[in-house]
Symmetry: C2
Subunit: 111 residues, 2 copies
């Protein structure tokens, strides 16, 4: 399950709020925490989780650390979701086809 960390990281609303704040570009921890309803240490812990999942990149710059979204961080998860729902759609269409055939053979059962 290579994307377990990814999903766990994305499942928390505060962490998604962090990602949304980083949508437009990089930011320091302090600036990041100002716009969030939790304490700065909580933000640090979330940044740790997001970084461990490969979703963020930390760039130390002097005293501070600038975080930005890793451009390919969610690729595996996105690929998994796409393939799963591709298969599901195929199965769905095949089931609909089977049902149609069944119904048509029922319509012909007096032949």
């Amino acid at each position: 399950m290579p994307y377990q960390l990814t999903i766990d990281a994305l499942a928390d609303p505060t962490r998604r709020a962090i990602l949304d704040r980083l949508r437009g570009g990089a930011m320091t921890v302090g600036t990041l925490a100002e716009g969030l309803p939790v304490s700065r240490p909580a933000v640090s812990q979330h940044l740790r989780v997001l970084s461990d999942a490969g979703l963020l990149i930390a760039t130390p710059q002097g005293n501070r650390r600038i975080y930005s979204i890793a451009p390919n961080g969610a690729d595996e998860l996105r690929h998994y979701l796409n393939s799963l729902w591709d298969d599901a759609l195929a199965a769905f269409e095949q089931a609909a086809l089977a049902k149609a055939i069944q119904k048509s053979s029922k319509g012909n059962e007096n032949d």
Copy 2:
């Protein structure tokens, strides 16, 4: 956060195992539980969560219930991930461009 239920549902490994078992097509609860390392009631509870998230469809058939993957169940989540990482990629490229300009102006600072 319209996809909160979706992510919560997908975050659990057992629930993803259920979805993976349903990749190929629909299945009853009993058959589903046979291939899983947890009890059948646990599977029922997971099916409840997945259904509430709109990821599964239950089709009652006599005594049993046949579950299948909802073809569009993860659309909103997938769209969110795509848009978020689209923005992140754009920000990343813009940052790289800004860095290149800065470096080139530094190279010309003796002009």
